[in-house]
């Protein structure tokens, strides 16, 4: 009895005393629930309806999903494009970010600062991918075309950005160019924090070269950091859309590089088919969350 009373007393005093904390947490969490949690939950609900912002919401069951996977060819195309992009730039971008961070760490602090800037710069300048539009421009003044022409490799300028054959590789190159982002910086910081004692112990235990050191000491100590960069990489590679729309337009030639996000944006904010857009975003959430959970489990198993 007295225990219960004590507990309640403690709780009361704690709320009385903790209210400033509540006040400080409120602004962010209000916005977070309003603009992240509620949108996610409401798109699950909206995905079973037909809604165009003007007429009343109509329940349609799984019609949207049926349309997505059976009748609408464009969804399967963008799904395929997105998965190709994710496979090429996700693991590729992650490995590049880790490898370069590891290499940068081999240098002295001053060189390290300079090199980090060089590799981080494309991602730092968010919209700088416009440069590639000029480089790949389709007439003979496009930088790549004019180089190839003057070298005699080609005789006619190639229309890189309106040829389905070239678009996907170009988007992959540009995305990789910008992939040295937050995960790259966090990898550098994480690598600096791996304790030197571990390396010394490893040297005594007979690690012969830096590759063994990387595999047996660095990677296991970086487990949490790696999960963070994996999450960042999933986030950026699943949501490539600005690059494709700006370089290739929407829709791109033969729908060759349109992604789930660009289709969703078009359906939702241009055609105002909110129900269908919500269904697409639900599939996107599931894909991203699924990838995240599987990779998280995988890293946990690897860590043991």
């Amino acid at each position: 009895m007295s225990r219960i009373k004590n507990k309640r007393l403690h709780n009361e005093s704690s709320l009385k005393e903790q209210w400033p904390m509540l006040v400080m947490m409120l602004p962010f969490f209000t916005l977070f629930f309003l603009l992240t949690i509620i949108p996610i939950i409401s798109s699950v609900f909206l995905s079973t309806t037909s809604f165009d912002l003007l007429n009343p919401i109509k329940f349609v069951g799984i019609d949207n999903y049926f349309r997505m996977f059976v009748t609408d060819d464009s969804f399967l195309t963008v799904l395929k494009n997105t998965l190709i992009l994710v496979l090429m730039t996700g693991p590729g971008g992650f490995l590049l970010a880790f490898l370069l961070a590891w290499i940068v760490n081999e240098f002295s602090p001053t060189t390290r600062t300079l090199l980090s800037f060089m590799f981080y710069a494309p991602s730092l300048c968010g919209n700088a991918f416009f440069i590639w539009k000029i480089i790949f421009s389709g007439d003979s003044y496009g930088y790549l075309n004019s180089i190839l022409l003057s070298l005699g490799v080609i005789t006619e300028p190639i229309t890189f950005l309106s040829d389905a054959k070239y678009l996907m590789p170009i988007v992959i190159i540009v995305q990789l160019w910008q992939s040295m982002g937050i995960s790259f910086l966090s990898n550098i910081a994480g690598l600096q924090n791996v304790s030197n004692d571990l390396y010394e112990a490893g040297a005594i235990d007979g690690l012969r070269n830096r590759w063994q050191e990387l595999w047996y000491i660095t990677l296991p100590s970086m487990q949490h950091m790696i999960l963070f960069s994996v999450v960042m990489q999933i986030q950026s590679s699943f949501t490539v859309s600005a690059i494709t729309t700006e370089l290739a337009g929407y829709p791109s030639v033969g729908y060759s590089v349109d992604t789930i996000v660009s289709l969703m944006t078009d359906v939702g904010t241009v055609r105002y088919e909110m129900g269908y857009a919500a269904a697409i975003s639900c599939v996107l959430f599931l894909l991203m969350a699924g990838t995240r959970i599987i990779l998280g489990k995988f890293l946990q198993i690897m860590g043991k």
């Binding site: 916005l31 603009l35 730092l124 600096q192 949490h224 999960l227 904010t269």
Partner: protein, 304 residues
């Protein structure tokens, strides 16, 4: 007194990490490996830097050099005419260039300041309050790292139109404020650098939570605040809202960039000029904050 104690605690940690960097040259390094690493650095550096250097150089080229065949990589007779031409390109529009610049600068600075403030307050609560649900909340925040403003753009659209902020500055500001990266990073940092005992000691000295946060915690977590400054500045500066901005008078520089880049090759000088204008502020912010970013990102790991 307390501040002094925490500062010396931090200095101790910094000294430790400095010591680690001093003897970074270890036994496990071979000549061949050194060569391979140098090769990778040079190739990766060329890949990331050449397009940016090309952009800067082209932005200073006079028209006849832009149309030169074969094109030269570097400018020979630098001129500012591409930059001056930017405002005349827009002279047929009723919105002058300065308006776009003002919009970009105002939105970016305002959003970044509010973002840093509400994120660090929420992170402080998540780390040091005694609410029972705080761990669950943090898990949600950590998982939501996966979703950025582009993934959520369509689900957020309905909420934004419900609170009547479509086609206002708020359509730029609110989505960024609801992203969780800032809270996540700051919470991890506070956890790593500010022991509970310091908060308890300050409370015994009679300080309330507001006082503790603004007088003691904020000055101590400066490195992570500068990190948030960089990430938020970079994201907001490059952000193009999807379908929520229509009025030309509240559009920002990224919109202008994509308009100008739609023009043919004769405009490539102007495209590069506005690219350079867009690149400069994030680079400056990076140069100011970079040493802090490297220090503070090491606590970014995700633990499951």
């Amino acid at each position: 007194m307390i501040v002094k104690a925490i500062k010396s605690f931090r200095n101790f940690r910094e000294m430790n990490s400095a010591k680690q960097q001093m003897n970074s040259r270890r036994y496990t390094r071979s000549k061949f490996g050194d060569f391979l690493i140098l090769l990778i650095v040079v190739l990766a550096g060329l890949f990331t830097m050449l397009p940016l250097i090309y952009a800067v150089s082209t932005s200073f080229k006079p028209l006849d050099e832009i149309l030169l065949f074969p094109p030269k990589f570097l400018v020979r007779r630098p001129t500012l005419e591409n930059y001056i031409a930017l405002s005349s390109l827009l002279s047929d529009q009723y919105v002058p260039l300065t308006r776009y610049i003002f919009n970009s600068v105002f939105i970016t600075i305002f959003t970044t300041i509010v973002y840093i403030l509400i994120s660090s307050m929420a992170a402080f609560g998540l780390s040091k309050s005694k609410f029972k649900c705080k761990n669950a909340l943090f898990m949600i925040v950590q998982f939501a790292l996966l979703f950025n403003t582009y993934t959520l753009s369509v689900p957020q659209y309905l909420i934004l139109s419900e609170v009547k902020v479509i086609d206002t500055y708020w359509a730029y500001i609110l989505p960024q404020l609801a992203t969780t990266l800032g809270v996540f990073l700051t919470k991890q940092y506070i956890e790593g650098y500010i022991p509970d005992a310091f908060i308890e000691a300050a409370k015994i000295d009679g300080a309330g939570y507001f006082r503790i946060f603004f007088r003691i915690v904020l000055p101590l977590i400066k490195p992570i605040l500068l990190t948030l400054l960089l990430f938020s500045f970079r994201d907001v500066w490059a952000f193009i809202p999807q379908g929520t901005i229509f009025s030309e008078s509240i559009k920002t520089l990224p919109f202008l960039m994509s308009q100008i880049s739609g023009g043919g090759i004769a405009r490539s000088g102007s495209v590069m000029a506005i690219t350079v204008i867009m690149m400069t502020p994030p680079v400056i912010v990076y140069l100011i904050s970079q040493s802090n970013v490297m220090d503070s990102m090491s606590s970014a790991g995700i633990k499951e």
